[in-house]
Structure formats: C-alpha cells, structure tokens
Amino acid sequence: MDVAQLKRQLFEYTTLLFHEGFLDEQFTQLQQLQDENNPDFVVEVVSLFFDDSERLLNELATALDQQNIDFNKVDAHVHQLKGSSSSIGAQRVQRVCIAFRNSCQDKNVEGCLKCLQEVKHEYSLIKNKLEILFNLEKQILAAGGSPPV
C-alpha cells in the first residue's frame, strides 16, 4: 500500500474513532503537542495511560472482591481512571467512570461490579483501536511519509 492510501486509511480510521465516541478533542490536543522535539509524545502518553489503567483495573477488581468493600478506596481508583482517560481523550472510558463513581457513592455493589465489567470492556476496545491507529502511523513512516495531524 502506498503512502497516500495509508494516509487516507489513517484519516478514515481516526474520523471513525471520533464519530463513534471513542475519542474526543483532547486526543487532538495531544496530537498538536507532538513535534520534532517530542516525536513520540502521543504514544508515550497513551502508553502511560495503558500502564496506569491496567494497574487501576486490577486494584478495582481486588477492592470489589473484598467481604467489606471500602467504597472510598474504590471511588479514589475510579476518580484516577476518570482523570487519566479524560487526559488522553478516551471519552467512552471516562463516561463509564462517571457512572461507576455514582454507584460507589450509592454503595451499590452490583452497580460497581457492572461498571467494572463495562470499563474493562471499553478500555480493551480503546486500547485495541489506539494500537491499530499507531500501527498505521508506523506504516506511513516506514513507507517514507509523515502521519497527518
């Protein structure tokens, strides 16, 4: 596939991610911060997001598996996940976190468990989609082009 085709594919794929609500304008702002001084800025920030999210999702699963659930602790983890998902523009993860926090405040165990499953699902979706997006960018670079911002 030539550079022009790859660029078109990247453009269409990115547009779809925005259209389907996976990403919001915060992701565009991150892309705008990337320049020759920080060529891998977006990948680095998103990798940090992946690391933090996986740690938080594990901690949430452990916290919700206790006999006496510490809802303040659960809420603090969800708050952090909401913040980091918002900071990279992972809109759907952020939205589930809002519902998750409401369940925490209501001390609703069933609601929290349901939200944990939803947030895990949304996280795996956005992770997969961002990896595809970064892979397309790599292919463009390998073909001698530069990814459009």
Binding site: L33, V45, F49, S84, S87, I88
Partner: protein, 167 residues
C-alpha cells in the same frame, strides 16, 4: 462549569487566606520572599511545580509547560505532602499547578499549608471536579485560579499572562 473553564478568585469570593494581600496585592515570585515579576529580567527561567498523582497528567502538563514560549523549568510532585516538603526544604517556585484529589495530602490541605507557611507563589488548582461549588471550596484554600484538567496551551498562556498583569 465545563472542563478548562476558570474560576477566578473574584468569582469564588475573597475568603481565601492570601499572604500576598498584606503586600501590594500583586503576584510575587518565588516563595514570597522573592522579587516581583517586574523586577525579573525578561528571560528569567520560570520555575513551575506540577503536583498530581496521575503520571499521565504530569507528563502532559510537563510538555505543556515546556511549550508556552517562555523559558520554564518544571518539577513534579506526586502528592501534596511532597510539594509542601519541597518548599520546606527551601525550594521555591513561581507557579504551582495543584491537583485536588491525591493520596497522603490532597490539594486543598497542601494549598492551605503552603499559604500558612507564607508561600506567595501563584497556585493554580487543576481538577476534574466540575461543579462550581466544588471549585469554590478549592479556591477558598488559597488558590489564585482554578481550571478543569488537563490544561490546554491556551489556558497555560493565560495563567502566565495573568502573572505578568497582576504584577
């Protein structure tokens, strides 16, 4: 209030303890004992402390601070206690970007403590709390301003501009 929107001290009320009000009422540099902005040479390196427990936010804000067009030297702290300890050990900063919810010591407690210590640096709250009443609570701890997180370049430039204008 939408993310990124500001709540200035005037909006939140003047109940906050502000050691600078005893002086000229203008933004002072460093830990309160330093010179004002006007006395600082144009090319002075600004020192910025980024206080946030979220490493993603710390990275984004560090890059942002490095992009604002003035020479800046950012440093990070993962909670309010680390920030307070930095000032206690004699470090000074011109601008502190303070998160609210953090382990060990949150942004409200850290801001109160810093103001109690006489720190006159500009402290700007950066929070995912979006309700006006929540931001008012944070402002009352002694903030100069409060914004939704993460900051944008435009907002950061406005903050730095205010530091000049306030002088």
């Amino acid at each position: 209030m939408m993310p990124g929107e500001t709540m200035s001290k005037q909006v939140a009320g003047a109940a906050s303890p502000d050691p600078r009000s005893a002086g000229s009422g203008k933004a002072m540099m460093g830990n309160g004992a330093g010179a004002s902005w006007a006395a600082v040479p144009e090319k002075k390196k600004l020192s910025v402390l980024i206080v946030d427990d979220d490493s993603t936010i710390r990275t984004i804000h560090t890059i942002l601070v490095n992009r604002v067009g003035v020479e800046v030297e950012p440093k990070v702290a993962e909670n309010g206690q680390v920030a307070v300890d930095l000032f206690r050990t004699g470090e000074s900063f011109d601008l502190v970007l303070m998160d609210w919810e953090m382990p060990v010591m949150n942004g409200i407690e850290a801001t109160r403590e810093l103001r109690k210590m006489g720190v006159g640096a500009m402290i700007v709250g950066v929070t995912s709390h979006s309700m006006d009443t929540e931001k008012e609570t944070f402002m009352a701890a002694g903030l100069d301003d409060c914004y939704g997180k993460p900051l944008s370049i435009k907002i950061l430039k406005n903050i730095l501009e205010k530091m000049k204008i306030d002088d």
